[in-house]
């Protein structure tokens, strides 16, 4: 089975944007070991691409960010996590894109800039 075919199996594993246990069981029975490995990897990356993770120093502000960011990242599953090291601001991970709008990242960049100078 080609990677392209396994990729279409990954898309077919969903029902109403949710993983369907029954479909997965039927698919995995058809795959050999290396194909199964590819299927799992593709499933993971597909899940990752559908998920938006927000890091905030205070969980209390999470609900606000969730509501606002849902308007920008339409159709994404949003997860809120706490990270005290950020000091202030947020960090958004959207698949392989990282948006670092926080004090910690700014200070880190500032330090490396001064060191380079």
């Amino acid at each position: 089975m080609t990677k392209k075919q396994i990729r279409s199996l990954v898309s077919a594993s969903y029902t109403n944007d949710q993983l369907d246990q029954q479909k997965i069981n039927r698919i995995t029975k058809l795959l050999n070991r290396p194909e199964l490995k590819t299927y799992i990897n593709l499933l993971k990356s597909f899940e990752k691409s559908k998920t938006l993770t927000i890091y905030t120093p205070h969980l209390s502000t999470g609900a606000f960010f969730k509501k606002e960011l849902a308007k920008i990242f339409v159709g994404k599953k949003i997860e809120i996590k706490e990270d005290k090291k950020l000091i202030a601001g947020i960090k958004i991970i959207d698949n392989d894109n990282v948006y670092d709008f926080n004090v910690r990242n700014n200070l880190k960049n500032l330090v490396s800039y001064i060191v380079d100078q």
């Binding site: 392989d96 894109n97 990282v98 948006y99 670092d100 709008f101 990242n105 700014n106 960049n109 800039y113």
Partner: protein, 507 residues
């Protein structure tokens, strides 16, 4: 003690160029680390030749963009990069920081100093990969670059902006020709009214000891002052060896953009091709002839196309390239030699047989050619070189017949004797480049029969002593010959007079 106001001012000055726009990153994860090539997932926004940074601080360059993964070649020896480590894009295409401070320095292809001196700061970032200048910006080769080697300046002249290949087996003087050319620029650069030539020597896949010797020689002769040495030795990763010539030409382009003339030596492109073959095989690119990848021709053509002579509207700068190719058992028809021969504007072919016979530089005049250099040759040398080349060709033909041992008529015997002396006069010791005036005199005395009755073993002594004689007693003639114009009859008569005068003194 600095007061607080001064400290704040300094900080403000330091931070004036700081941008806060660096909040977005494209991150991936390492899937595989094999032989200096990393395969990573993610990095969907990565560009070809983009610099990426790993979580342990080491850097790499993107060389393959696949559907789900990117392949990255490592620029450091980073064995500690493991599966799952993060890698992020930097948005920077591979470049090297260049300024005038780089002259006299020894750096690696990333611009990191290897001579224990501080790093170049506040230079201009020159991209390693760049499309060569177009036809509209260029003009024909019209100014000579003097090598100081009689055989080359007379028979295979090189012009500024030309690409002249130096090709031959190992250990027969290819690097020596390139180094002599760099050393010879010292006298050119000190001549008033002549545009100076800056030099870049790129050592690819060579032994560290050999590179150290070259640097020492450049230092000793004072040539390092106007030279930059880019080193990617045999102990460096293949990625650095692959990037080295591009770093060399990027440095040259900095000076060329300022209207300067630059000479770049790539020593050697055979090892460069080997490094690229290694990278390509690890990247699983399809292998072709001699296991080289399909784009091996483009690898060298895009590099050598960056050698250029810009027209006046575009600054008038130039980059002259002297690529070196090492052949195996004198085989010119191998893949890489034929590729580079077809890309360049001529080649200087060195023969092991000549080298072993004591003819050094061991240039095979028959197989060596300069396709565009003739237009750049000065009238002084041009007026005499044609005759010498013809006599040499006749000698080579006759010598083949003479070897049958039959009796020879007087004219043939005379031609053979003349040819032997011509070959003798073209011998030249290493690191001893000659100014054009002395080159002219050497060729003049042999083509005008002054040496016909001098014993062959005395020819080189005659030449050296004659040069000394001219320097001591006839500096005016040398000055006139240095102007580059075709010598008039009066000057030729005076040269003849001095040659005959010296011949009487010579014993």
């Amino acid at each position: 003690m600095k007061d607080s106001e001064e400290i704040i001012k300094q900080l403000e000055k330091k931070l004036s160029g700081y941008s806060t726009d660096t909040a977005t990153k494209n991150v991936g994860a390492v899937l595989k680390n094999t032989d200096g090539v990393i395969v990573a997932s993610g990095l969907s926004k990565a560009m070809m030749s983009e610099l990426v940074e790993f979580s342990n601080g080491s850097q790499g360059v993107v060389l393959n963009l696949d559907e789900d993964t990117v392949s990255i070649i490592l620029l450091d020896k980073a064995d500690d990069i493991a599966e799952g480590d993060t890698v992020k894009t930097t948005g920077i295409l591979l470049s090297i920081e260049v300024s005038e401070d780089l002259l006299g320095r020894v750096v690696n292809p990333l611009g990191i100093p290897l001579d224990n001196k501080p790093k170049i700061k506040n230079g201009k970032k020159m991209p390693l990969e760049r499309i060569a200048a177009g036809v509209v910006e260029r003009e024909g080769v019209n100014t000579p670059i003097k090598t100081g080697i009689k055989a080359i300046d007379a028979m295979i002249p090189i012009g500024r902006g030309q690409r002249e290949l130096i090709i031959g087996d190992r250990g027969i003087g290819k690097t020596a020709i390139a180094i002599d050319t760099i050393i010879n620029q010292k006298q050119i650069n000190s001549t008033k009214g002549v545009k100076p030539v800056f030099c870049v020597y790129v050592a690819i896949g060579q032994k560290q000891s050999t590179i150290a010797q070259v640097i020492e020689k450049l230092k000793e002769t004072g040539a390092l002052e106007y030279t930059i040495v880019v080193v990617a030795s045999a102990s460096e990763p293949a990625a650095l060896q692959y990037l080295a010539p591009y770093a060399g030409v990027a440095i040259a382009e900095y000076f060329m953009e300022k209207g300067q003339d630059v000479l770049v030596v790539y020593d050697d492109l055979t090892k460069h091709a080997w490094a690229y073959r290694q990278i390509s095989l690890v990247l699983r690119r399809p292998a072709g002839r001699e296991a080289y990848p399909g784009d091996i021709f483009y690898l060298h053509s895009r590099l050598l196309e960056r050698a250029v002579k810009m027209n006046k509207e575009n600054g008038g700068g130039s980059i002259t390239a002297l690529p070196i190719i090492e052949t195996q058992a004198n085989d010119l028809s191998a893949y890489i030699p034929t590729n580079v021969i077809s890309i360049t504007d001529g080649q200087i072919f060195l023969q092991p047989d000549l080298f072993n016979a004591g003819i050094r530089p061991a240039i095979d005049a028959g197989n060596s050619v300069s396709r565009v250099g003739g237009a750049a040759q000065t009238p002084t040398i041009k007026s005499i070189a044609g005759k010498m080349r013809l006599e040499l060709a006749q000698y080579n033909n006759l010598a083949a017949f003479a070897s049958f041992g039959s009796d020879l008529d007087e004219a043939t015997a005379k031609q053979l004797e003349r040819g032997k002396r011509t070959i003798e006069i073209l011998k030249q010791p290493q690191y001893n480049p000659l100014p054009e005036s002395l080159e002219y005199l050497s060729i003049w005395i042999v083509t005008n029969g002054i040496l016909d009755d001098v014993a062959i073993e005395d020819v080189l002594r005659f030449e050296t002593e004659y040069h000394d004689f001219m320097k001591r007693k006839n500096q005016k003639i040398l000055d006139e010959l240095s102007t580059g114009t075709k010598p008039n009859e009066d000057l030729i008569k005076r040269i003849e007079k001095t040659a005959l005068e010296f011949k009487k003194l010579f014993s």
